[in-house]
Amino acid sequence: MAVTQLAAPPAPPTPATKKSPTAAPLALVLRRVGTLLITLFFASLIVFFSRFVLPGDPARFLLRGRSPKPEALAEITKQFGLDKPPIEQYFTWIGGILHGDWGRSLTYRQSVSDVLLNRLPVTLELVALAAVFITGLGLIAGMLASLNKGGWDRFILITVTAAGAIPPFVAAIVLTALFAVQLGWFPSFGSGDEGPSRLWHLTLPALALGVTFIAFMARVTRSSMNEQLTREHVEVATSRGLTRSSVVFRHVLRNALGPILTVSGVLIAGLLVSSAIVEQTFGLTGIGQLLVQSIDRLDFAVVQAIVMIIVTAFVLANTVVDLIQPLIDPRIAAGTESR
């Protein structure tokens, strides 16, 4: 009879396991946001002071072509606050950013915010469209490869490996030659007007921008799903009579999302950086193109602002990914981690 008594299971969750799910979320969010702020602070230090390491005097650059009269030079230096000690310049700069003032562009002679606001929408739309292609095409290709062993898998894997090796500017040229010049389906230049026209103009650039990442995403999806497919819980689901599609969506794809999401976070930065090349090729007036020009003209205020935006986007994306992970895998929230 002792056995029957034992059959009654031990009292469910001990206080320790019960406590964590309620206390964890807020603490987790606060910790992540704290990390985010610290990261941004250090990033701002590096972004700002790296200009003092670079050769070239911005004031002198402005007066290019003219005889640099010492007085004029001094005046411009003073006008842009370049004569103050670096630390003071940093605090003026960072204080300005916190108030929404990113300083003045040396070349455009207007506030950096205005310059950026004109350019940012195009880049964001480009990146967003590329992200849609990446998740859409990448996920589908990865799933197809993972679920169809043999011919399909090999075909997709080879295609994806080849596509992954194409740099964005090559992809841009090939896509333009094919779809814009030969077939004439898409425009080859400019960002068009707001609305559908913009979408039409951005399709080729977004594909060119995304091609490497689509390949990357497909690979990650494929391997992550392959790993889940061999798990016992998938076999259990099948043994209970679930249809193939239920098994795939409820038990394979859902569980495979973790690694896919982690990779997506890292991709964001890559997209923003690569957008410089693609914008240049397709003549889009986005911040990527602006970045290239500004570096060329030693327009540090603009360069710093753009780099800060990219860094912030990157850190923010990864923080969001970190915060979503526990929702996808509850074991992460409990601190037991997946394994």
Binding site: A2, V3, T4, L6, A7, A8, P9, P10, A11, P12, P13, P15, A16, T17, K19, S20, A23, K149, R231, E232, H233, E235, V236, A237, T238, S239, R240, G241, L242, T243, S246, R250, H251, R254, N255, I328, D329, P330, R331, A334, G335, T336, S338
Partner: protein, 534 residues
């Protein structure tokens, strides 16, 4: 009686390789419990999965597997779905791996109900809760919202059983459903399975590697070896008078508590104990900030040449104790002395660790994980000789050859990588590696739990042999009382970090004084024919 499951001349193989299952024939009648016994690689899992039409990809089949007349080897996919949904359910070995960790228990239970039973969400939740209560779980409403990692292994296995029963199957397939569980938990699950099987008059096919389990649950037994049925018959007959050589060997290797064969401790001669532990304790901080006492106030001594068994269930602190003895963990309190030398209460320095390793060696549970997959076994052992005996390259290789020979690994295996060896051979190599340091104390942490019974018997024999030949002192950590009874003169029973009983093994096993030890002894599966004396 009609045949519920009928497997006839079923053969399964991969192109270009030998058959994994060779003309297997077996049948399960309505309401009958049948066991399929075999060691790892015998094909017992493949056989059971075949009943659900789950075949490995690219495998070739012949013969037939019929469930109520439906041949799963040729049935169309739609029929197979119907079979899995309505007529046959399977309970898997490891509930922690078998239930999707990112979905709630409630989701797992109701996903089949809402999909094709035409129940609303509320109805299926209600049904699931009733079922959970029926399998002996409490606080079921909360449980529906919990995730698998928040439940214990035993509770999860009950959830798995509840899920299988929800489909009210006529055939229940059990794939080693208690292997991942503790003895006392196992006893509860077995009782539940027996109860449900009889109440619902289900046919049951129970896979196990443990003859004792088979005997405690099933009327008939099939013994499977390398894909072939070598013997079948009434459980009682197969167990008591096995016909096939293999079955005889299996019965012989199955550990049993035989009090007259328990080794006795060497007479106390007043020498200093080899290992002396006083008030040893270890605590861990849990993620929630709470403290978990893994081991509390452990005090015992072990004389040179002695053998001590440390028995307990998971979470009892037995592995923590073993790890502290070999200095993989540092005690929070208490004193640990080896050979009279008291251990400093801090993580050891590299030099101290090397010195300790000459006296104390450990063999871990899983030889698949404890050997470096890239180092040939001969070199692995030779390296120990070079490190601890200061031998030159050639000498070390010679010594390694001799030692491996002695533990039953021939010279032809000297250059093999661990993956080319079987589980038993790997564990022999692991033991040889430990012995190469010529330790005085050998700690075996569940060293035979991952092995098949027949292999376990051989490894235990080896340990007995080297103990006698080398005068080793042994500390054997295990959950299996039968294994301890064979190897250890003294016994220490741990429960949740506390020593609840210690003393000579024979005395504790014949007349346990603590309730917990008694529970452990009672939880051991007992054959059906022993329970109902004529």
């Amino acid at each position: 009686m009609s045949k519920l499951l009928e497997i006839d001349q079923f053969t399964l193989h991969f192109p270009g390789r030998g058959a994994l299952l060779n003309e297997v024939s077996l049948h399960v009648d309505d309401g009958e419990a049948v066991a399929l016994v075999g060691e790892s690689g015998s094909g017992k899992s493949l056989t059971t999965r075949a009943a659900l039409g789950l075949f490995p990809e690219t495998s070739r089949l012949s013969g037939s597997v019929k469930v109520q007349g439906l041949d799963t080897t040729s049935a169309p996919a739609a029929k197979l779905l119907q079979l899995r949904r309505n007529r046959a359910s399977m309970i898997f070995q490891d509930p922690r791996a078998g239930i999707n960790p990112v979905r709630t228990v409630g989701d797992f239970l109701t996903e089949t109900l809402v999909r094709w039973r035409g129940l609303s969400r509320e109805e299926s939740v209600e049904r699931a809760i009733t079922q959970l209560e029926q399998v002996g779980l409490r606080r079921t409403k909360e449980m529906m919202r919990q995730y698998p990692h928040q439940l214990s292994g035993g509770m999860l296995q009950r959830v798995m059983i509840a899920a299988a029963l929800l489909d009210s199957p006529e055939l229940l397939l059990c794939d080693e459903p208690t292997t991942a569980l503790d003895v006392t938990t196992q006893a509860g699950i077995l009782e539940l399975l027996r109860e449900q099987q009889q109440a619902r008059a289900m046919g049951m096919l129970f896979i196990t590697h443990d003859l004792n389990l088979a005997a405690s649950l099933c009327d008939r037994v099939y013994v499977l070896r390398k894909g072939e049925v070598v013997e079948h018959g009434a459980a009682c007959d197969v167990f008591l008078s096995p016909q096939a050589d293999y079955t005889r060997q299996l019965v012989g290797a199955t550990p049993r508590i035989e009090l007259d064969k328990v080794p006795t401790a060497p007479a106390a001669d007043g020498t200093m104990p080899l290992l002396s532990v006083k008030g040893l304790g270890r605590r861990y901080e849990l993620p929630g900030g709470e403290m978990l006492t893994a081991l509390n106030d452990a005090t015992f001594t072990l004389a040179p040449g002695g053998s001590l068994g440390v028995v307990g269930e998971s979470g009892s602190g037995k592995s923590t104790l073993a790890r502290m003895i070999v200095a993989l963990e540092t005690a929070d309190e208490g004193e640990l002395a080896i050979n009279g030398r008291v251990r400093a209460p801090r993580p050891l320095r590299a030099r101290e660790r090397k010195l300790l390793a000459k006296d104390v060696q450990i063999v871990f549970q899983d030889p698949y994980l404890s050997l470096d997959p890239r180092i040939a076994v001969g070199k692995a052992v030779a390296d120990v000789f070079r490190l601890h005996q200061g031998q030159g390259r050639a000498d070390a290789v010679q010594s390694a050859r001799e030692l491996l020979e002695r533990v039953g690994i021939g010279p032809e295996r000297f250059e093999s990588k661990p993956r080319a060896l079987s589980g038993g051979q790997r564990q022999r190599v692991a033991i040889a590696k430990a012995l190469a340091a010529r330790p005085k104390l050998l700690v075996l942490d569940e060293a035979t739990s991952a092995l098949d019974v027949s292999v376990q018997a051989q490894v235990l024999e080896l340990v007995e042999e080297v103990r006698e030949q080398l005068g080793l002192t042994i500390l054997f950590v295990t959950h299996d009382l039968a294994v301890v009874s064979r190897l250890c003169a003294e016994l220490l029973v741990l429960q949740q970090g506390q020593i609840v009983e210690q003393g000579p093994t024979a005395k504790i096993l014949s007349a346990p004084t603590s309730d917990y030890t008694r529970t452990l002894l009672d939880s051991r599966p007992r054959a059906l024919w022993e329970e109902q004396p004529a």
